[in-house]
Symmetry: C2
Subunit: 475 residues, 2 copies
Amino acid sequence: MNIMQSITRLSIRLILLFTVIQFLLIPETDAAEQPNFVIIFCDDLGYGDLGAFGHPTIRTPNLDRMAREGQRWTNFYVGASVCTPSRAALLTGRLPIRSGMMSAKRRVLFPDSKGGLPSSEITIAEALKSKGYATAAVGKWHLGHLPQYLPPSHGFDSYWGIPYSNDMDAQKGFPAYRNEAHRNADYSPPIEQYQVPIIHNTQVVEKPANQHTITARYADKAIDFIRSNQKKPFFVYLAHNLPHIPLFAGKEFRGKSARGIYGDVIEEIDAGVGKITTVLKDLNLDKKTLVVFTSDNGPWLPFRTHGGSAGLLREGKGSTFEGGMREPTIFWWPGTVIPKVQMELGATMDLLPTFCSLADVSTPTDRVLDGHDLSPLLLGKTTKGPRNEIFYWRSSELYAIRIGPWKAHFITQGCYGIGPKREVHESPELYHLENDPSEKYNIAENHPDVVASLVKAAEDHRNSIEPVEDQLAKR
Amino acid sequence: MNIMQSITRLSIRLILLFTVIQFLLIPETDAAEQPNFVIIFCDDLGYGDLGAFGHPTIRTPNLDRMAREGQRWTNFYVGASVCTPSRAALLTGRLPIRSGMMSAKRRVLFPDSKGGLPSSEITIAEALKSKGYATAAVGKWHLGHLPQYLPPSHGFDSYWGIPYSNDMDAQKGFPAYRNEAHRNADYSPPIEQYQVPIIHNTQVVEKPANQHTITARYADKAIDFIRSNQKKPFFVYLAHNLPHIPLFAGKEFRGKSARGIYGDVIEEIDAGVGKITTVLKDLNLDKKTLVVFTSDNGPWLPFRTHGGSAGLLREGKGSTFEGGMREPTIFWWPGTVIPKVQMELGATMDLLPTFCSLADVSTPTDRVLDGHDLSPLLLGKTTKGPRNEIFYWRSSELYAIRIGPWKAHFITQGCYGIGPKREVHESPELYHLENDPSEKYNIAENHPDVVASLVKAAEDHRNSIEPVEDQLAKR
């Protein structure tokens, strides 16, 4: 071996060594730059229904732990006070009035509906697809049950769940629960009363869905997906169909909660949350995964103890009072999301821009987005949030607006099925939500300037809405 | 030195050595067996007013930490829905109807009152005195302002605070806050409007009390006492006179809370709690000290945003609905009290027997005690509490009774000053408090047997009450 050979050999070895060192020095994996996202979304869960949000008899140790280790958001909103439009808002980052998923004709989609989320809308799943995310929807969809509207047509690699609410396809009236005797009964009705199917991708695989085991199965499906996709970045949208009535709980949870069947259901959902966070830890993914827990709208109060509680907030599902649209929300990402009680404004519509920001994906620029990037708040880079306004739409009207602490009601209506009737206010009611979170004291008379500025902001906002095809009216 | 001298010398040395070893082997100090006790008692704080109990805009990081590290009690009651009788219950472990501290004539003691807690009553301070405890009362007393009724006559080594409510001795009517203009105002009135004195032991040392600085001074007085008595076991009863209206906050806190002046006050109380627990840690006393935080009754709702919130509970101060008598309660004793959300029943009247049990003091046997020893629950020796009943007295009548989850209302009345008027129910209303914590659904018709058993238990209880001199009627 001559000297040149030796030098070459040494050079090769050095290059190899530096390559290895360089490899060791680069960020651990791509997944560190492309965090995983898990949304756990409940149905009709009230603001006051978790231990961490003050419920006295429902035990939610796993969610309480997430709240301690992460951010508990106390001013977090949904895009509508009922299922379909609220879900459209979350997945698209846009007010449902912009996508045709909110309507004066019908509040939500029904089994006879012919509409759904238009293919022109860009969902979180589609946005993340551009960076190679594996995506799954598990649970209740309710954005159109015809094949062209199901999750596989909206950026999800897989889907397993029920296509609309768990009280639909009812065999004894719609829903049977409106009957007073049912309201008083503390039992799970025979599942045959609800012929709601389970769909896998686009095929019906079970009918009627066995709702007694469905909550546990949703969590298991989410976990299976996480295990199978642990090597790439992933997004799981886990949308429980409970605690929407009728209520069902698995054997392990049935009759175990002090709060009755409603509490059993929440405690089972909480246990599923615990299983998911444990699996994330076991797979060493907890430091790479943002988990968000919230719900689609407030509690359905007419169903008495089968419905939840909005805590100190006024009214519930279907209302634009706070109880209908403010939800108990937790962001959890150990080591990254700064533990905090977060009082800044946020909304489900912010999830799309926030996830895009964290995954380094561009947000769509060809349309109005109503969401804001919450990541600086989550990461503790700022204490001042990007969102200053909440718009409270109901059917095709803007009922109320919040700017900072102030909320003006132009129209009020109570909880779907029980609350006070629709009332149009010639001069809006004004509440200071930070001082008066229960919306008890209308102080419009004392603050005419604030009222005027909210009226103007509402008018500007209304003018920004372009008419689109009404998807909920199609049948 | 002969051999005997040597042996003697060796013996002496050995005895000395063994004495030292023996000294080193005995428990660290008596204080390890005689834990310290600190009660932090608020005035008119609502069930929903702490972060740990779900308030969206009041920040209570210190109490939230105590709740995480200790036991957060969700079914913890006071002995009455207004100041004087509630305080008598806490300090004596007895329903105030037994001590004459509850009356049909007047709800509480006033500056013209001539009565007070009888000397025949045994307070927590007196019970602990038998084991050499140092005892201090700091803050609002309201169990009689004549010298014979003040804390030094009831087992307290020292006292510093106001003798009755902070809205008494009002110079512009009683209380000035009942005026609607005041209710809407978000300000601290000039302290001269309230000529309430500060008493040190039995002497007036300040008049009017400077209520702007009083909350901070109470915490400091408690801390001074703890520092001075760190070598012996001690008991501090720190009874803040806020957030009872009128509201005042120190400079550091004024205008800082999103919740307005009411939130400022709670955040200042929380900061004081933080200072106290920090001092306990610094003095290495945290592992030897049980700290209990609670309040005397529910929020005073007519004062609008100057009053608190009972969260999801019904009504407030003065009412025997849950909002009047269930309080946000935390037990904290790091390393000893098992961290937990505690849903078993408890009451302020349980503090005397609980402290006695932990301090190895016998409880009085010559009288009826209404308290139970909660220490097995606190220490995690059992999950089943000793208390199965709550009696809701108002003036001189038993308005309601709770047994397990069931509550029967014989008489109802809303919050003092604003709620529904007194109503006697020929047939009692019945609520299931675990399923229906907001007392929305009267289900008496469905459960006649439960109603009958509660009626019987109430009758038995009423018969156990012996007539005594009415202390509140004396003037």
